[in-house]
């Protein structure tokens, strides 16, 4: 009897400690990053977030280009990856025969196992020439979209669009895997209800499966967005690394993660503080996105009886 109680207490103590340690670690990192960035926040105030001047030589720092780059490259990634990933998931869970579906699902999952730096290399040696020689000319000359500000100007290869495409490929397996799971979790009774009322397979998927999986799909997209916001290596290798804000997606840019990765080695003094302040901002942006996402997932959720 006493032995059980003691064991219980030890167990409770150890698990509580483990839980609290995670919280403490998170707080510790956040506090360190924020205090490290404090000199820059104090010196530039809110201007740090809105100014687009990033000039380590004169110790002037504004994070706007990096914030812009992070949000825009992630947005491009979502716009490209979401339909592909959801389409893949629908195909794999609803349409593909088992012998075809399982190997494809495995290959899609494998995309998540490729190291970031390998994506970056592929980006430099394959995607960038393709951007320059095929994608940009196709958008501008074949589709005649050159008049749009986002497809304006010359593509040299690296840039915002290249980063967005790389990110799209990298987050696709996450969105697809989550979507596949939630699609398969939609009760069979819902599918049968639609079929029994004379729905075609496509109508059944559209009306019974996807609405039921909506909150999970949004969850998957958010997971992908989280990955895209923080992704560093591959983006740094293809985005062009210029602290500018340009409407054109062919122009070079910077992201919060890539500016840190690129400059921490030679930073000193206020420059270090500026990079930490960017880190703190990235942390805050990620937090806001996650909170928004949870709210969104809860809002679009459906309940079966």
């Amino acid at each position: 009897m006493g032995g059980v109680a003691v064991g219980d207490r030890i167990y409770r103590g150890v698990t509580t400690l483990a839980g609290l340690a995670i919280v403490a670690l998170l707080l510790y990192i956040a506090v360190e990053v924020f205090t490290g960035g404090w000199p820059v926040f104090r010196k530039f105030g809110l201007g740090f977030l809105t100014s687009s001047a990033w000039d380590p030589v004169h110790d002037v720092y504004g994070a706007a280009p990096a914030i812009f780059g992070t949000l825009v490259s992630s947005a491009i990634a979502l716009v490209i990856a979401t339909p592909l990933a959801v389409g893949t998931a629908v195909f794999l869970s609803e349409l593909a025969p088992r012998w075809l579906g399982q190997p494809i699902a495995f290959l899609v999952d494998l995309l998540a196992a490729i190291p970031s730096v390998v994506y970056g290399l592929w980006g430099i040696f394959v995607l960038e020439p393709m951007m320059r020689d095929s994608i940009a000319p196709f958008l501008q000359n074949t589709l005649h979209l050159g008049g749009l500000p986002i497809f304006d100007g010359v593509s040299y290869g690296p840039g915002m669009l290249a980063a967005g495409i790389i990110l799209a490929i990298m987050i696709l397996p996450y969105i697809s895997a989550v979507t596949r799971e939630v699609l398969m979790a939609v009760p069979r009774s819902q599918r049968e209800a639609a079929f029994a009322l004379g729905a075609t397979r496509w109508e059944m998927i559209r009306d019974a499966v996807i609405p039921g999986a909506k909150s999970g799909i949004v969850g998957g997209i958010v997971l992908g967005l989280g990955r895209a916001l923080g992704e560093t290596m591959a983006v740094t290798m293809v985005i062009g690394n210029a602290p500018t804000i340009s409407a054109s997606l062919f122009a070079s840019g910077y992201t919060m993660a890539s500016i840190i990765a690129n400059e921490f080695a030679e930073a000193a003094g206020l420059h270090i503080s500026a990079l930490l302040a960017i880190g703190a901002t990235l942390l805050a942006v990620t937090l806001v996105v996650n909170v928004l996402a949870r709210w969104l997932v809860a809002r679009v959720g459906v309940r079966y009886t």
Partner: protein, 251 residues
Amino acid sequence: MSGEIQAEDFSFWYGETQALKNISVTLPAGQITALIGPSGCGKSTFLRSINRLQDVVPRTRHEGAIRLDGADIHAPGMDVVSLRRRVGMVFQRWNPFPKSVYANVAYGPRVNGIRNAARLDEIVETSLKRAALWDEVKDRLRESATGLSGGQQQRLCIARALANDPEVLLLDEPASALDPLSTQKIEELLFELRGSLTVVIVTHNLQQAARASDHTAFFFLGELIETAPTQTLFTAPSDDRTEAYITGRFG
């Protein structure tokens, strides 16, 4: 009167397992036929073959024929979507879509091409009335269907099936998860529907079969043992196995 179902030597396999063996039976138009038998006897498989819902189960096959008003439902020219419009189905566990009451009932007509709002309103009202649910939900048509009680949800599913104005209504143990009062309502409503369409109901509840059907078919181990007017089958079964089942000696 249309909606007569005829099975001719109909057999059905899941992979290597034969679930139905040479079923031949006529389910008369406009009447209620109950399918009874112990679990796994094939009655649900037979029911789900009538609207070809078993088609979506992988690795299944059939032999023989099922005819709806003389037309082979597996014939190449038979459109499965229009077959399912003519043959409605209600499941054991009520399964409304997580949409409004209105959207649930209007779903069938909508996928079958009816877009006119006034026409849809009319169909929704008529169907809910036929399913004896109109008075309970007429003020909450835009509310979520999943907020209704279990019995109401099941009647909503019946209304949803009726909205396609089918000739046949298949029910797979529609009341097995309901309380006695809700069960009674469903039985009453089936009786109301009698004459306007053919009803085929799978049930484990022998009293229900005895109360609520015109004909009863007894399935056992994938075979159709006996089919007869309900009163005859329950009072003077011709097969020993039927008698054993209805007197509760197995099942």
